[in-house]
């Protein structure tokens, strides 16, 4: 899903004056979307029967509750200028509720700091959704609630686990 989001963003940037290559890329993208439609805009009454729950089970995370979940991806770099890019996607009942793809600050080739920043943005976005979720379900915005978050940046996880200052850290192998 992240890759498609990024590809769509990238294609949109060139669509004001498309050339032959851009049309080829667009064709490829449309074909991909048609063959592998994300099916993310469906909200399941029984979330254990959703594709998301199946995916989690296949990945060995059967214990995680799939009803409210957040994903954060930092693996992809922009092919044009090799900036690090961040994505995060929030899902309730197996359907998309919030997403974002952006270039985190500082602009660098996937340093630990930029990855940590991306995760922070994802957490901020998830907290707002949690607030509304708790307000609607329990009538209390301040009710403590934890959202499981999946990320693929081991450096980001390591940096958030300890108390060291990471502002000047350089690239850490993922």
């Amino acid at each position: 899903m992240y890759e498609e989001l990024f590809a769509i963003r990238k294609a949109c940037k060139h669509m004001h004056l498309p050339g032959c290559l851009h049309f080829q890329a667009l064709l490829h993208l449309l074909h991909h979307l048609r063959c592998y439609s994300p099916q993310a805009l469906t909200y399941y009454r029984n979330v254990t029967k959703s594709p998301l729950a199946t995916m989690l089970q296949e990945a060995g995370h059967a214990a995680v509750d799939p009803s409210f979940i957040w994903f954060c991806n930092l693996l992809f770099g922009d092919c044009d200028d090799s900036r690090s890019t961040g994505y995060h996607v929030g899902l309730i009942q197996g359907g998309l509720i919030n997403f974002s793809s952006f270039v985190p600050n500082p602009i660098a080739a996937s340093s630990c700091e930029s990855e940590t920043n991306t995760m922070t943005v994802a957490v901020m976005a998830s907290r707002q959704s949690v607030m509304i979720y708790c307000d609607l379900l329990y009538g209390n915005q301040e009710r403590p609630s934890t959202v499981p978050m999946f990320t693929n940046s081991s450096s980001g996880i390591a940096a958030t686990r300890n108390q060291r200052v990471t502002s000047m850290s350089c690239h850490i192998a993922r």
Binding site: L41, G95, D135, L136
Partner: protein, 493 residues
């Protein structure tokens, strides 16, 4: 070919309408005229039963279809000539490439476009879609006529004939043709929409009349039903703000005309507000709709929808503003009871579209109502909730004049509906369909999904090739080539 179908041809039941409307029509085979008369006029389609003895059903099918094709082609050519003559008599207008009143890619009259070698070959819509759209327009026109023509086609034509459904639609259209601008008619004469009344007045009568009718309807609604204007003496400090008209041709799901709409719009750009308040007001967004539907799925409920009728015109003005209707409206065949309102300063009682604070005033009224009903706001803008005893909930999502209402308790929902209809004039739909240009659906197991691909596809498929700007044409070509007709059917519910 067995003589059985031809026997049926002569036994077909008829009504006077069918006979009257088909003097030179292929469908007059069922009339009381003798077969010999027809045979002398139309050697292509002999009515002598012995002529079919050596034909197979497929050959007969093809012959009959080609005959009708030729007839319809004749009619369409004559029709286009009439159109051109009519246009020469009118004032020379800016957009001179107005197409004829036939749908784009109409397979029976495409003389100018060579279907096999032309560059537009890939753009002609698939045949099935075309039939579907025409069936759709006949449905709008009246199901009884279509079912009647199907009945006639069933009686008259052989059962193996592949074109029978299509011919039944043709017959329905030849009996009761749809006038331009009616729901279900072809939108091409109305696109692009005229920018003002002066453009409308230059158009031929066929398109001018529906546009002016829509404008009169809007003005009458404002003056008579809503009481939006009041004649009052201008104060020394009052300035008068002009209004203008905006025209819009709304399309239905088949790409045909749904409604021709005119709006009387306040010239907000020529108006300086006297008060210094922020005109911002919250709106529903994609994330709020997504969260709302996710919560609906969690509770296992499906939203209803309430849509305001002329929403802004229901809101009272809170400022002292004078407007003036343009003087050229009197020339536009305006009815006598509306003429005194033109070119006179009028005190504005209700909010008009285009007014700086129209959205804000509407939101304030809605907010007041929702709070008085006992709803509470959430951190998500325009999402309102009320907790009911026993962990039930009433949720409302609001986008200017559209409401999505859902509740675990049907009685509370009914109460809300009654309260809402006493405050605002609303159209209530028990099952939500479209919200924020997205189609909301629920399947049998309670899963809710929404998609915005269908309106986009409809727009791309049915905006005729003549109307696409040249720089967008390759885009459309690629989309068309990659989009088979089955895709639309899959997307449709």
């Amino acid at each position: 070919m067995t003589p059985k179908p031809t026997n049926e041809l002569h036994e077909g039941s008829v009504t006077p309408t069918l006979i009257d409307s088909s003097a030179s029509d292929p469908f007059s085979i069922a009339s009381n005229a003798t077969p010999q008369d027809h045979a002398s006029n139309n050697p292509v389609f002999p009515y002598d039963p012995s002529a079919y003895d050596n034909l197979t059903i497929i050959e007969f099918d093809a012959q009959f279809a080609s005959f009708i094709n030729a007839k319809l082609k004749e009619q369409s050519v004559a029709f286009q000539q009439r159109q051109q003559v009519g246009r020469r008599n009118t004032v020379d207008d800016a957009d001179d490439d107005m197409p004829a009143l036939l749908p784009p890619g109409y397979p029976l009259c495409n003389d100018s476009v060579d279907n096999n070698t032309g560059s537009d070959a890939g753009i002609v819509p698939p045949e099935e879609d075309h039939i579907a759209s025409r069936v759709g327009r006949c449905h709008r026109q009246g199901t009884s006529l279509l079912s009647y023509t199907h009945h006639v086609a069933f009686l008259v034509l052989p059962a193996q004939m592949t074109l029978r459904d299509k011919l039944a639609v043709d017959l329905a259209e030849s009996i009761d043709p749809i006038a331009a601008g009616d729901p279900g008619s072809d939108p091409t004469p109305f696109l692009p929409e005229p920018s003002g009344l002066y453009k409308v007045l230059k158009q031929p009568i066929a398109t001018r009349r529906p546009w002016i009718q829509s404008l009169v309807k809007e003005l009458r609604g404002l003056v008579k039903d809503r009481g939006a204007f009041k004649k009052e003496q201008l104060g020394p400090n009052n300035t008068v703000v002009p209004v203008k008209e905006a025209f819009k041709c709304k399309l239905d799901q088949h790409g045909n005309v749904n409604k021709l709409k005119a709006r009387i719009v306040f010239r907000g750009d020529l108006y300086t507000p006297t008060t210094d308040i922020d005109s911002w007001n919250p709106h529903a967004t994609w994330p709020s709709l997504q969260l709302y539907l996710a919560m609906c799925a969690k509770f296992g409920i499906f939203p209803s929808q309430a849509d305001s009728v002329m929403a802004y015109h229901q809101v009272n003005m809170k400022e002292r503003v004078f407007v003036q209707l343009p003087s050229n409206w009197t020339a536009a065949h305006m009815p006598d009871d509306l003429k005194p309102n033109c070119s006179v300063p009028l005190f504005l009682m209700k909010v008009l579209y285009g007014y700086t604070f129209s959205g804000k005033f509407l939101y304030e009224e809605q907010e007041e109502f929702l709070i008085s009903f006992g709803m509470q706001s959430t951190p998500m803008p325009t999402l309102w909730r009320m907790h009911l005893p026993g962990s039930g909930i009433l949720m409302v999502l609001q986008y200017s004049d559209d409401f999505l209402i859902t509740s675990t308790d049907a009685i509370i929902k009914d109460k809300f509906k009654t309260a809402l209809s006493t405050h605002f004039e609303m159209e209530w739909k028990p099952q939500a369909d479209w919200f924020l240009q997205a189609r909301i659906r629920q399947d049998a197991s309670g899963n809710i999904s929404f998609s915005e691909s269908l309106p986009v596809l409809c727009q791309l498929t049915w905006s005729g090739p003549k109307r696409i700007p040249p720089r967008l044409k390759p885009m459309l070509l690629i989309l068309r080539r990659n989009m088979d007709s089955n895709l639309l059917k899959q997307l449709a519910p």
